[in-house]
């Protein structure tokens, strides 16, 4: 009985412990830096540049209109900061904004050319390791300063970061735009050869002026062109692929469902077809031979017309061959341009390694791409 009473008395400790835990949890909540939404600036796009030893950040931030606005939408502003390290610069960004910089919604990072030539490895590793950035954050290289890309006045919505996200991650995946997210960047980085790519954003002035409320008197809009691609190696910035080679890269590395292919018709006129779907498979034939098998579905851009029951503007066999040749030429242009620089942009070495294992790798050096024969087979289907 005494023992049972003692046990019952000890049971009182249970409530003491529960009380202590409750107090700790409440105190914990008060002590943690728990900024509410009004004290946070939601960053939707981040530009990273380097200036000497410093890292410069420019953040495109949403400023919610208080109480909701009749016209809808929000205002956007760009805040800047600089620091010796990325962490330092991010912390100073909050100081510059006057509220806590919230990076969870930042799904686009633009990297300046100077930074890519000097500190890209450090910055990209920071982005992957940081808990604030999602794996699917898009990476874009700027042709020049990154903050100028972010500040571009695009015709739709005025917000460059949203505009670029739609171009790369929207429903339509267009030929020539080689989108790259953080996760893919590091998967490529660890492949044999370690070649990487990301679109280059070029800001161009256009004659179009935005119309609508609050737009009168505003300057002319700018266009953002992502049709060229930056090639990187583990050492950093390598070179920029031209328009054709960028398209060639997108045929091999991406699953496309948008874009046009221009070809010369039998009447020596320039015509085009629309890409409905494009997929590629790399087939390893031997230790130094790989074939790229590209399946493309297209449809004619002009309406089919019939004469005496026959479609008169159907694609002839020769026209089909020209389309296939156009795709093949762009893919080979990309391969050859990179091969000259000893860069394995299609990760052919990785595919050969997967098939032949260490036996293949131990006999290779950094210049293995010189010895690889690359073929392209295009299978065209017209809808």
């Amino acid at each position: 009985m005494q023992r049972r009473q003692r046990v019952r008395r000890l049971g009182g400790y249970k409530w003491a412990i529960i009380l202590i835990i409750a107090v700790v949890l409440i105190g914990f909540d008060l002590l943690v830096d728990n900024a509410s939404i009004v004290n946070r600036g939601i960053v939707v796009g981040l530009a990273v540049d380097s200036s000497g030893d410093l890292i410069e950040l420019a953040a495109q931030v949403i400023l919610p209109r208080s109480g909701g606005s009749a016209s809808g939408g929000n205002d956007f502003m760009i805040f800047t900061s600089s620091g010796e390290t990325m962490q330092d610069a991010v912390e100073k960004l909050s100081v510059s904004m006057g509220v806590k910089a919230s990076l969870a919604h930042c799904t686009l990072v633009v990297l300046g050319e100077d930074l890519l030539r000097s500190k890209s490895d450090y910055v990209l590793k920071f982005l992957l390791r940081s808990p604030y950035f999602a794996d699917n954050t898009l990476l874009v290289a700027a042709s020049g300063k990154a903050k100028e890309v972010l500040a571009a006045k695009v015709p739709i919505n005025d917000v460059a970061s949203y505009h670029m996200q739609r171009m790369m991650q929207g429903v339509q995946r267009e030929a020539g735009v080689n989108a790259c997210v953080i996760k893919d960047y590091f998967a490529n980085y660890h492949y044999i050869g370690g070649a990487n790519f990301m679109p280059v954003a070029v800001v161009e002035n256009c004659e179009y002026s935005p119309v609508g409320p609050d737009k009168e008197g505003s300057e002319g809009a700018q266009l953002l062109d992502l049709s060229r691609t930056l090639v990187l190696t583990r050492e950093g910035y390598a070179f920029v692929l031209d328009y054709d080679a960028s398209r060639g890269l997108s045929y091999v590395k991406g699953n496309l469902n948008d874009g046009t292919i221009i070809f010369v018709s039998d009447c020596s006129q320039e015509r085009d077809v629309v890409i409905l779907d494009s997929k590629c498979r790399l087939k390893v034939n031997s230790e130094n031979s790989v074939t790229s098998e590209i399946d493309v579905k297209v449809k004619r851009n002009d309406l089919p017309t019939a004469q005496d029951g026959m479609i008169v503007n159907a694609l002839s066999t020769r026209e089909r061959e020209r389309i296939c040749e156009s795709i093949r030429g762009q893919v080979l242009a990309c391969f050859e341009e990179c091969q000259k620089q000893d860069i394995d942009i299609f990760h052919l070495g990785e595919h050969i390694y997967r098939k032949y294992g260490e036996e293949w790798r131990k006999n290779q050096n950094k210049l293995y791409i010189r010895n690889i024969d690359f073929e392209v087979k295009v299978d065209l289907e017209v809808k």
């Binding site: 835990i21 700790v24 914990f28 943690v32 830096d33 728990n34 946070r40 992957l128 794996d135 098939k355």
Partner: protein, 375 residues
């Protein structure tokens, strides 16, 4: 007859074993494995999981008959066995608690203070450990279904985008063994089970132990496969893998992308898992001090102080986990169960399995052997 606070049913031990096995193999370990073994990390996981399952089989061979505490073996030998379990469990608690605290800090709080999380976490662990094995098992039984539903949703709503080719070529090379060698501490966490006894249930139970052990194996190896296919070599830089891979209800919060069902279910798993190894410390110390409450408070205070002042960040934790001490811990985890098994087989011929159909609860309560339950 053992104290009923340490008697558990086979289905409870099955759930406990699942949680104990899987919890810390899906957070930081995939990153560590990917960093050491690269694309062969899956083989390292499969290899060590096989050994862990074998260890569990041996431990089950002991506890289905008696617990180490109640076994009739020479006191000196028993004292040494218990001391070794306490030492190993203490080390593991320190290393794994640091990982749990880091996970909570990263996924739930915006740079939440490490020490405050320890303050909130440790009393909970010590309290469950203090209450004993069957409270721990019952807690596991209650939370298991939350965990299972959360994991099921993750499977059902998975939008997996990965490259299965990232697993190739699958070669069992020196890197695999190096990864196994470095990360011994994350495996073989079943020694605290030696303080429990498995009761023969009055009626057949739905959860089958062999099935749960098989599920644990498949879950750990399967998770590593998914992680490798999703991240490839980049996995070496991806921490908190469980949170990254989770897909159900993923939302972008102010502090980062968080999958709440996954985070919460993992938190429950971590509490059970850590409470199990803290239980190993508390039960072992109680054997020497005889005062359970004192043992629990002392263990909790010592663990909190170690985490407060000894482990300041995850780098320190990893350094300790991969120090030469891991060989001692590994030796305890893998060699102690066969030794206990042999000792019980040789010296203990009196113990009989606990049969719940033949137990007089009233008598047990009078003898102070049954502290919980309504009879």
């Amino acid at each position: 007859m053992g104290k009923t606070t340490n008697v558990v049913y086979p289905n409870q031990i099955a759930l406990l074993a699942f949680i104990a096995s899987i919890t810390f193999k899906v957070v930081m370990l995939p990153q560590y494995f990917a960093g050491t073994a690269g694309r062969s990390a899956v083989l390292a996981m499969a290899y060590l999981m096989t050994i862990e399952v074998m260890e569990f089989v041996i431990i089950y061979g002991v506890i289905k008959r008696t617990s180490l505490l109640e076994a009739h073996i020479p006191p000196l030998l028993k004292g040494v066995f218990i001391a070794l379990i306490v030492a190993s469990s203490y080390f593991k608690t320190v290393v794994l608690s640091a990982e749990a605290v880091s996970y909570i800090s990263t996924t739930l709080f915006d740079n939440g203070l490490w020490r405050l999380i320890v303050l909130a976490y440790m009393p909970c662990l010590v309290y469950i450990a203090y209450k004993g094995g069957n409270v721990l098992a019952r807690t596991a039984q209650i939370v298991f279904w939350f965990i299972a539903v959360s994991l099921l949703f993750n499977v059902l709503f998975a939008r997996f985008r990965g490259d299965i080719g990232n697993l190739l070529p699958l070669e069992f090379g020196a890197e695999v063994m190096k990864a196994c060698d470095r990360h011994l501490v994350w495996f073989g966490d079943f020694t605290p089970f030696l303080f429990l006894t498995v009761a023969r249930p009055a009626k057949a139970q739905k959860v089958r132990l062999p099935i749960m052990i098989a599920i644990s194996f498949v879950a750990a190896v399967g998770f590593m496969v998914i992680f490798t296919t999703a991240y490839g070599g980049g996995g070496a830089m991806v921490s908190n893998a469980f949170n990254k891979i989770a897909v159900f209800n993923r939302i972008s919060l102010l502090l980062g992308t968080v999958d709440f069902p996954t985070v919460c279910s993992w938190l429950m798993m971590s509490v059970i898992k850590l409470a199990l190894i803290v239980y190993g410390v508390v039960e072992g110390v109680t054997y020497y001090l005889k005062k359970r409450f004192l043992a629990a408070v002392a263990a909790g205070a010592a663990l909190s102080l170690t985490l407060f002042f000894g482990i300041t960040n995850m780098d320190v934790s990893y350094e300790i986990a991969t120090s030469p001490v891991r060989y001692i811990v590994g030796a305890i985890e893998y060699l102690l169960p066969p030794c206990v098994y042999l000792a019980v087989r040789i010296f203990d011929r009196q113990s009989v399995p606990f049969d719940s159909t033949k137990v007089d609860v009233k008598q047990l309560r009078e003898e102070g052997k049954c502290r919980e339950g309504k009879g």
